[in-house]
């Protein structure tokens, strides 16, 4: 199915919850209301005509100028061979969205990664811990304004340039 038609189905099913469809770009995408993301995902997965049985990717994008963090869902259907990209806009100072763990199991780890690196809170997640970084790490590195802490557990994270080291 064409992405345009998929968006049409969504608009019909969830009036007012989906918006801003971009069809003439590399990856056609649309925006979904943060409150409705789980329903939309479940509908996309279960509808026999759409059958998005796979969540290919779930990641975040930080837009400090627009004061928002986007969570991006890449969906794919093996049966229908079509794809769709969903985006959820969240406020930067308090990014919270419901978990899609109940729709696709793989979302569990993807969401943990987004939580770890972007600081997005996935409400209702069964095991929202940091995944890549240590539990006591400060900050979320993939945010654009992230500043690395100077030391971690007494170990310096800074390093003198190699040339300076050789000259010393």
């Amino acid at each position: 199915m064409e992405t345009k038609d998929i968006y049409g189905r969504l608009e019909q099913q969830f009036p007012g919850k989906v918006a801003d469809f971009k069809g003439d770009v590399q990856e056609p995408c649309c925006k979904v209301d943060a409150q409705a993301i789980v329903e939309v995902c479940r509908f996309l997965r279960d509808d026999p005509g759409l059958k998005f049985e796979v969540l290919s990717d779930l990641t975040g994008l930080d837009w400090p100028k627009e004061e928002k963090i986007q969570v991006v869902y890449h969906l794919y259907s093996y049966a229908q061979k079509h794809q769709m990209v969903l985006k959820v806009d969240l406020p930067r100072d308090n990014p919270k969205v419901a978990t899609t763990e109940g729709v696709w199991k793989v979302a569990n780890w993807f969401e943990r990664e987004v939580y770890d690196l972007f600081g997005v809170i996935f409400e209702g997640h069964s095991d929202l811990r940091r995944i890549m970084l240590p539990e006591d790490w400060v900050g979320h590195p993939l945010r654009k304004d992230y500043v690395e802490q100077e030391e971690y557990d007494g170990i310096s994270t800074q390093r003198a340039p190699l040339v300076e080291k050789l000259l010393r």
């Binding site: 590399q26 990717d57 991006v72 793989v106 780890w109 993939l142």
Partner: protein, 379 residues
Amino acid sequence: MNETAPVETGFYTEDMTISVGPQHPSTHGVLRFVVRTDGEVINEAIPDVGYLHRSIEKIGEKVTWHGYVPYTDRADYLAAMFANQGFCMAAEKLGNVEVTRRGEFCRVIACELNRIASHLISVGTFGQDIGAMTPFVHALRERETINNLMEEICGARLTYNYIRIGGVGYDILPETCTRITAFLDHFEPLVDEYNRLLSYNKIFIERLAGVAVVSREEALSYNLVGPNLRGSGIKWDIRRDIPYSVYPELEFEVPIGGAQVGKLGDSYDRYWVRIRELHESCKILRQCLKMLPKGPAIAKVARKFKPPAGECYARVEAPRGDMGFYVVADGSEYPYRVRIRTGSFAAMSIIDKLSKGIMVADLIALIGSLDVDAPEIDR
């Protein structure tokens, strides 16, 4: 075998929590499991990843488009070529660069050689993990030949930095083509030798048949990709279904698991898919060498590569499955965001689920059969 019924002994037994890894020889890189066992039976194995996190995604925001290619090598160092290709495909789509035809063929040749090398490691270490030493040495011997060929093609043996935006770094010479053909002539009969040594080995089969079965639904829900997905009987290969490069012109089959010895989607099925893919890669290589056209190996691309603002998701079929590069450009010299979605990440997340009720020794077989690769999980 997967006999999980608890034995009623009348004795009170206490769960034991042990830590497997991060430096355990069978964990394929640096990863760790916290395993809670009841005697030999695992109640729960919680993966603890992140030991190899090098923030490759963050580095992507700080280097130029051309400069990022060597970093992608490090995402999965057993199959560096595919990460190169994934990123370059994304950049080319964004910047509207047409890859030269010879460049495409050089890419496929290099990638398929890399796939054979990666599968050899996977199959060899898998045997070693569950106690068969010899096949590992045999597999690594052949991989060494591929490393030599790779060195001839691009000057590096592990992290290639061969595929560039617009084509490939160096052309493949006619002498190299001859040597690749010679290698294929030598290698193809050897796969049967591996089969006699390992695949048809009674002990090996008994260890794997019916262990850690992944159903079709689970495979989809956990988004397993590549040989792990095909092992569960789903015929899906990016090369065939979302074709890229020159794969549509080439003939090859997509092997899927067929419950040879146990149940569909068990550890043996996943292993067997990889063995059959070795043959398919050889087939593709022979066709490519025959079809290799003349012409430049790389298109003219601006040194200051500045694709217009936009975003793109490129998929390649790496040895560990669908590798996705989600790249966002904002029109500057640097990518705005590079996201690498790898096969092992999803494969690792299913281990928690599959390990319930299996034996400790089967956990090792499970890790090996899923072919998880620590650098690819952590990036």
